[in-house]
């Protein structure tokens, strides 16, 4: 497949591995790099990238999996909405098995009779709403800047076609404020960020300028093995030179200005609010909800939902793992009580979750 196979080339990967080895020797001290995208977490595990790197290069995972960073309270709210009468609750598949604070999940309440449907696109939610005019269809809007423009497009289509039975429970988040929290964390000292490729397709370079300002490298990176190795090589080059800036390994998919049309759509539909992240707590200006013009699409305004008194899952270390201060092996539940067949924390549920990746690959 064009634009994929070239970036899985073994000779190029081997060349980059050797180059990284030389760079690591030149640096002569441990280096910690963080990826903040679940697709990177998965790819790094799947392609065995850690095993290709010298011991001094440590890769840690940050809060890059949208399902994983969704707070217990939001999971509980999703279940409460899905249990409303006459509702079809529509979500991406990853969300189904995430446990709420009671241990229940959308999957469990679906087994109990709730009408919960899995889609791969907001366009399918529009179809469901169109084919079920007597039902209230609620779409769970989850994801970072890559995904939120598809929800903006969906509500614009609904407005144009006068589809009134579709609303959105938005837990959409934006990445740059979370990176700032990580930069502020005294427990973390990150030398370089493997910046998320497809978030950057939408936001461009602007969201990362704080990283070099704080003396860390920032390289926007693609998802194939050669991409990731080249991204790491570029980060190490910045460290060696002692000159930090936002650099783009993934130029075939990312322009410096991002996707201006998508950014305009986000600005037209959403407003920025504080949001609760699992592991990171409330982060100011990190969530997206509909602005006044589109507020009719807000499921929380349309339905009466009690304020949830949610609690954390006992013993689960997902919060620390999402901050990058713990690895799954440090969690007492990992592999034993918590495994892909019986996930206790969200990082074990999603294919892109750090625990799920470690379970399969390390």
């Amino acid at each position: 497949m064009k634009f994929i196979d070239e970036y899985r080339d073994g000779t190029l990967a081997k060349g980059l591995k050797d180059l990284i080895q030389t760079q690591a020797e030149q640096i002569g001290k441990p280096v910690t790099l963080m990826e903040v995208c679940g697709s990177h977490t998965y790819a790094i595990g799947h392609y065995g990238i850690r095993k290709l790197l010298p011991e001094s290069i440590r890769l840690i995972s940050g809060p890059g999996c949208p399902v994983c960073v969704t707070s217990g309270r939001d999971v509980d709210t999703a279940m409460s909405l899905a249990l409303k009468k006459n509702v079809i609750f529509v979500t991406y598949g990853d969300m189904l098995r995430v446990p709420g604070s009671s241990g229940s999940s959308l999957q469990k309440i679906r087994a109990g009779g709730a009408d919960i449907r899995v889609v791969a696109s907001t366009l399918e939610a529009i179809e469901i709403a169109t084919h079920n005019p007597a039902k209230d269809v609620i779409f769970m809007g989850i994801g970072f800047e890559t995904t939120s423009p598809t929800v903006a497009s969906m509500v614009k289509i609904c407005l144009k076609k006068a589809i009134k039975n579709l609303s959105v429970f938005s837990v959409h988040k934006v990445i740059p404020p979370a990176i700032k929290v990580l930069l502020d964390d005294p427990e973390l000292a990150i030398d370089g960020f493997i910046c998320p490729g497809h978030v950057s397709t939408i936001i461009g370079f602007d969201g990362y300028t704080e990283i070099p300002r704080r003396g860390s490298a920032a390289v926007i990176t693609g998802f194939e093995p050669v991409d990731i190795l080249e991204g790491i090589h570029m980060i190490l080059a910045q460290i060696i030179q002692g000159r930090f800036f936002v650099e783009n390994q993934y130029s075939r998919a990312v322009k410096p200005q991002g996707n201006t049309k998508a950014l305009e759509m986000l600005g037209e539909v959403f407003m920025i609010v504080p949001a609760e992240w699992r592991g990171l707590g409330i982060i100011q200006a990190s969530g997206l909800v509909f602005n006044d013009t589109f507020s009719a699409f807000n499921a929380l305004a349309r339905f009466d939902v009690p304020i949830m008194e949610s609690s954390n899952i006992m013993g689960c270390m997902c919060g620390s793992i999402l901050r990058g201060v713990a690895t799954p092996h440090e969690c007492p539940l990992f592999r034993h009580a918590c495994n892909p067949q019986n996930p206790i924390g969200p990082c074990m549920v999603s294919r892109e979750g750090t625990c799920s990746t470690y379970y399969k690959c390390h």
């Binding site: 497949m1 064009k2 679940g38 991406y92 598809t150 497809h198 322009k255 996707n259």
Partner: protein, 73 residues
């Protein structure tokens, strides 16, 4: 969740939807979000039913050639 894949545009309909070919698999994607004009034969990056970026083929080839050069040096 931010998974994306490149596909080649095979046709575009009057509703601004394109049929794309990803290694032999056909998918339909909406072109409402993409910010550049696209036509038949162009490669687009697709995510959750939408094309979100036109792949710059020339730039991709140049960058790959540069990487090969660097590794052969």
């Amino acid at each position: 969740m931010c998974i994306g894949f490149p596909g080649k545009i095979m046709c575009i309909d009057e509703n601004n939807y394109a049929t794309i070919d990803i290694g032999g698999t056909k998918r339909e994607v909406c072109l409402d979000i993409i910010d550049e004009p696209v036509g038949l034969g162009d490669y687009v990056l697709c995510h959750a039913g939408y094309a979100i970026h036109k792949v710059d083929e020339a730039l991709a080839q140049d960058k790959l050639a540069l990487l090969k050069e660097l590794l052969e040096a």
